[in-house]
């Protein structure tokens, strides 16, 4: 018995694992929180696009020897605001424009890493995430963004709700919709920035969508979604990370698979009800 318990706690003996699981859990909760807006506004393609854009910034800053958070941060927030503006105007072809720009940024990043990066290993780390490189600065960064997001969303809760549900009427009722949207895009860029090193470029958008969709199936209340979704995100990140140690699989893939499993279970358990609730979500 003691052996079993000792065995189950082995991963926690490693500092890198502890750092990794802390960052992953906070990142999961953070993605769950912002994912609520992503899912309800049907902008999952923006999460996808942003993570690809940030990748370009990450690669460029690695090659030019600029600090990751500075280089990728500036790049990410700039692309977030631009993407937000394109999407807001709802021009025909906005998705296509965003797709082209962000994929180009991604391709540029990849090319830079090929040409000037150290090894294939580092590309893999950026694409799929890695727990090995997690440092204290990552814990600080992800915690800071999480606290910032919670404070902003609580303080501006009503404006966020109104602008998400009915931007036009919100605007004429005195809500600064453009400002709220820019804020949301900024938080989303920051979230991707601090999450990317653990989760990786390719799987962040899934972490933005899965917990919020599960929360949507479980409740009909926006306020409740805002705490259920982060809990689901945090739990799936924690469990996924933990399992990955024993299964010897990629942490981010295991996190997403854990989330997917929860999705399937909730989908089955909530039955018709859950299905009608998520059927109205656009573009998932």
């Amino acid at each position: 018995m003691i052996h079993v318990i000792a065995g189950l706690t082995t991963p926690f003996r490693y500092q890198f694992f502890n750092n990794g699981i802390i960052v992953a859990t906070i990142a999961g909760a953070l993605c769950g929180l912002l994912g609520v807006f992503v899912v309800l506004r049907g902008m999952s393609y923006i999460g996808h696009g942003l993570s690809h854009a940030v990748f370009g910034g990450a690669a460029a800053s690695a090659v030019m020897n600029v600090n990751y958070f500075v280089g990728a941060g500036v790049w990410g927030i700039a692309s977030g605001v631009i993407i937000g503006r394109i999407a807001r105007r709802r021009l025909i072809g906005a998705d296509a424009a965003i797709g082209v720009v962000t994929t180009a940024s991604f391709a540029l990043g990849l090319a830079l890493l090929n040409r000037y990066g150290q090894a294939k290993k580092s590309i893999e780390a950026v694409l799929f995430g890695s727990v090995l490189g997690v440092k204290t600065i990552d814990i600080v960064a992800v915690s800071a963004v999480a606290i910032l997001s919670v404070v902003i969303i609580v303080a501006l809760y009503r404006a966020f709700l109104f602008a998400t549900f009915d931007p036009e009427v919100a605007q004429v009722s005195g809500v600064r919709v453009a400002w709220i949207e820019a804020l949301l895009m900024g938080l989303l860029s920051l979230t991707i920035l601090v999450t990317m090193r653990v989760i990786g470029t390719l799987l962040i958008s899934a972490l933005l969508v899965i917990p919020a969709s599960i929360a949507r199936m479980l409740t009909n209340s926006f306020a409740r979604m805002l705490w259920i979704s982060p809990i689901i995100g945090g739990v799936s990140a924690f469990v996924g990370m933990y399992l990955s140690y024993f299964l010897d699989t990629s942490a981010s893939a295991t996190i997403i698979l854990t989330g997917t499993l929860m999705f399937i279970v909730v989908y089955a358990v909530t039955g018709i009800r859950g299905r009608t609730r998520i059927s109205g979500l656009h573009h998932i």
Partner: protein, 259 residues
Amino acid sequence: MIGEVLVECAHMSCAYNSTLAIKSIDLTIRKGDFVGIVGPSGSGKTTLLKAILGSITPVEGHITKKPHLRMGYVPQVETVDWNFPVTVLEVVVMTRSSVGRLPRVTKDERADALLVLERLGLGGLENRHIRELSGGQQQRVFVARALFHRPELLVLDEPTSGVDVRTRHEVLHLLADLHDEGVSIILSTHDLNGLAAHLPRLVCLNLEIIADGSPVDVMTPEILERTFGAPMEVLVHGGMPVVVDGVGADIAERMSRLA
């Protein structure tokens, strides 16, 4: 007595992607007005209301509004995201979203909101999800949201589309009561006999304003045909115009052959 000007459009045109949706609109709305905009689908009714609301900016001409005019907007039900996770109460208090308001609905707000809901016959439904309501109730939730804002001008986009005769009468009575209490109203509708004919002033719209006046003046076969692009006949019943489809005879003849 002529009321003060609330909204004035002068040669106003609005466009989507450089295609004009409404053109050279001259329209004045005064305090105490109760105006119906009629026109076929795609004629620009929603566009005109949104321009009045200020969510669309004219590409030509001007729109001026009384400073700090308080407006309540009731959107066309088809444009609402009915699947969005909000309850009736949450929708009603939404218009009080200024910075510094805490997430939780306060006691006072709740009491205010319940009064409005009660008045609209929605008492007891405050915790329902908005999709779990009948069409007429859904419509009234958005009227409640607009009223909660205590508007001087109430703007409604097709308030009676998709509701039954009884609900339509209720909506009409409600609007008449609000109007008596001093709320000015502008609404759009397709419904000529059920709604438009009862209003004191109608504006016929099809890209441009075709006519503006009382129902007796504007509900004529010529004006209606120019507005709707289809022949119509107008009878008078109890002093009120009643519109009859001009194609009636033709269809009747074809149907009788089937009988």
